[in-house]
């Protein structure tokens, strides 16, 4: 009953014009960000953070979450029509979605992606609504040692699942931790890595860092590719899927919804991994395996449902444990902290109105997403006519205004430029940037729980090996890193064996 009354209160709030407007604006901007190749959701949301300062906490959360799931869907439009994923989670959609477009079936591909996203998003909210409050008592039982171990595990999983070399992921993560301790020590006010400057005493400004790492690095990357013209696009044609296409989409949407939600719960999980897993599952269970890669509608329905469901799933660890599971969530966490809201074990009990309004906003947002995307698909397709040579100079200006507006600080702009160069070099040499951002956001809490634990135990590190939860979490974290090192070795050995067999 508590759920229903909470949800009713949430709807009563969200249906007020200013919150409906925030939901609409969030979904609209998110879809736009997703449609435009080159501006991912992380850079897009980060750019918009300074402009949420004028909003209240509810509007901020509603708008930013709308941007997130709007971007997840918007990316599929670009994938299907021009074979360039608007954001990483849509890479998989491009395989069969673009093939469908080439066969003159762009409309059904876009419609199935929209309907799948809507169904998955709506069902996943029910899971979120039931699971998040149920996790609160568990989260509240955590002391500083458990909190520390949980964050170590979260960061380990994020490193493993960021893809590529685990060593590079760990380096990225440790760089994020190091950057986060720059500034005055919160307990003793001792300067740390400030080089005697007053600007660094306040620490590195997160918006400047993230906008540089994602936004400016994106601009520098675009200059490298030299693709400055408009994107070529296919005709959309008939929009609704026929009976056969609809029948073949039902199973993948259902499986994608469940898989996506579960994967979204994991730190480091989210869009791209859920899409990959869903695609693999659909290919495995399909009776039309040979159609995959040649325009199978299951290859669009499953991954698109999974990545939208994962978006919702990722809010569970954020709202109950204060643990962002990916870089977008880290940015949303930052925006909420700026608003004076601290997601964590007490978030739902201390802010029931905000939580239930947020849940209701996701239902509303999913309806807005469907309305914006099905009838207006032609409008979104026309956005792709904006040439990159016009788009990126506008992004350069937004980056500049966005960073400056936070503190009116010229130093923040310099930090953004340096971060942009670092982010670009990291991408060029295959260092994942997401672990850096997650570590940067989580380190203040990580260090605080580490020091509180040692304060409670009078400096005895044995506190991290007491009880069942802390050691279990830490051992799992070590095992996760171990798996990260072992997997490439196993793959290399298999490849060698195969080559020897062939010889």
């Amino acid at each position: 009953m508590e759920i229903f009354s909470g949800l009713a209160d949430g709807f009563a709030t969200i249906l007020q014009p200013q919150y409906l407007w925030a939901a609409f604006l969030g979904v609209f901007l998110g879809t736009l960000i997703g449609v435009l190749p080159g501006i991912g959701p992380v850079a897009g949301i980060t750019l918009l953070i300074p402009f949420t300062f004028a909003l209240d906490g509810i509007s901020t959360l509603v708008m930013l979450s709308g941007i997130y799931y709007g971007a997840q869907y918007g990316g599929s439009t670009t994938s299907i029509l021009v074979n360039i994923p608007g954001e990483s989670a849509s890479v998989i959609t491009a395989i069969d979605g673009h093939e469908m477009a080439r066969q003159g079936r762009a409309g059904p591909a876009l419609a199935v992606a929209a309907i799948g996203s809507f169904v998955a998003g709506t069902v996943a909210i029910v899971f979120l609504m039931l699971l998040a409050p149920a996790l609160v008592p568990v989260a509240l039982s955590f002391g500083p040692a458990e909190d520390f171990a949980l964050m170590v595990l979260g960061l380990s999983l994020a490193s493993l699942l960021s893809g590529g070399s685990i060593l590079k992921a760990l380096l990225s993560l440790l760089l994020g931790v190091l950057l986060a301790v720059v500034g005055l020590d919160p307990i003793s006010a001792q300067p740390r890595f400030t080089f005697g400057t007053t600007e660094l005493a306040a620490g590195i400004q997160i918006v400047a860092l993230i906008v540089g790492l994602f936004g400016l690095a994106e601009v520098l990357g675009a200059l490298e590719t030299g693709r400055m013209g408009p994107q070529v696009q296919s005709r959309v044609g008939r929009l609704l899927p026929n009976r056969e296409e609809a029948r073949r989409s039902v199973g993948p949407i259902g499986r994608g919804t469940v898989l996506g939600f579960i994967i979204g719960l994991l730190p480091g999980g989210g869009g791209i991994i859920s899409s990959l897993v869903s695609y693999a599952v659909e290919k495995g269970v399909s009776k039309n395996k040979d159609e995959f890669g040649k325009g199978a509608i299951e290859g669009v329905a499953g991954p698109e449902s999974a990545n939208n469901s994962a978006t919702t799933g990722a809010f569970v660890p954020l709202l109950t444990l204060g643990l962002p599971s990916n870089a977008v969530m880290a940015v949303i966490l930052t925006a909420l902290i700026v608003q004076g809201l601290q997601p964590g074990p007490r978030f739902i009990t201390d802010n029931p109105q905000l939580f239930w309004t947020f849940i209701a906003s996701m239902y509303v947002g999913n309806v807005v997403l469907l309305i914006l995307n099905l009838p207006l698909v032609g409008v979104w397709a026309s956005v792709l006519r904006i040439p990159s040579r016009i788009l990126f100079p506008i992004v350069v200006m937004l980056i500049f205004v966005g960073v400056y507006s936070v503190n009116q600080s010229v130093f923040d702009l310099l930090v953004m430029v340096v971060a942009g160069v670092v982010g670009y070099l990291m991408r060029r040499s295959d260092f994942p940037v997401a672990p850096l951002v997650l570590a940067f956001v989580l380190t203040p809490r990580l260090e605080q729980s580490f020091r509180q634990s040692l304060l409670i135990s009078a400096g005895d590190t044995g506190i991290f090996f007491q009880g069942a939860i802390t050691p279990a979490l830490l051992i799992t974290a070590v095992a996760v890193i171990g798996v990260g090192f072992l997997l490439p070795l196993i793959s290399a050995r298999r490849a060698r064996t195969t080559l020897e067999d062939l010889a």
Binding site: P50, F51, A54, L167, K168, L170, L171, L174, L175, V177, L178, V181, D185, I187, S188, Q190, R192, F193, L216, V219, L220, A222, L223, E224, G226, M228, P387, S388, R389, I390, F392, P393, I394, V396, M397, L398, F400, V401, Y404, S405, Q408, V410, L413, L414, V417, V421, Y424, L425, M426, R428, S429, D430, F431, E447, F450, R451, L454, L455, A458, G459
Partner: protein, 156 residues
Amino acid sequence: MMNITLDKAVAALFLALALYGVYAASQMPMTLGSQIGPGVFPLGVTIAFAVVAAVHLALALRQPEPMSAGSSDEPPQQDASLRRQVAVLVTLLIAVVAVTRVGYAVTMTTLVAVSLYLFEERRPLVVAAVAVSVTAVSYLLFVVTLGVRMPLGPTL
């Protein structure tokens, strides 16, 4: 496509940064009365950073250099890209210095115009129209509507 030489350079840079971090953290107090001091956490992190960076650099140095591609059009293209990237960064740095002196309108119009040129939009009328209109719209949206505080220039 990963660049092996760049990978080694980034790995070396990370190791140098980590070693400096270990040195700087070791100069911080390790105790604070009966509590652990502000240096313990950074020291632990920088040591771990240095170890991982050293292992990564060692592995990167074992990677073979890529074969020379011979004569191709890529190097001149890469040089052109690099020049444009550096030009964008320099333009941004000039804008950083200029914004508090000449204000939002002049800085943003110039920044957008130069960026358009660097992104190969060379039609003067288009450059002027986009630079002025984008600056005007952004001013109305951010400064007037959203109340974002931006320096408006010496005369305002």
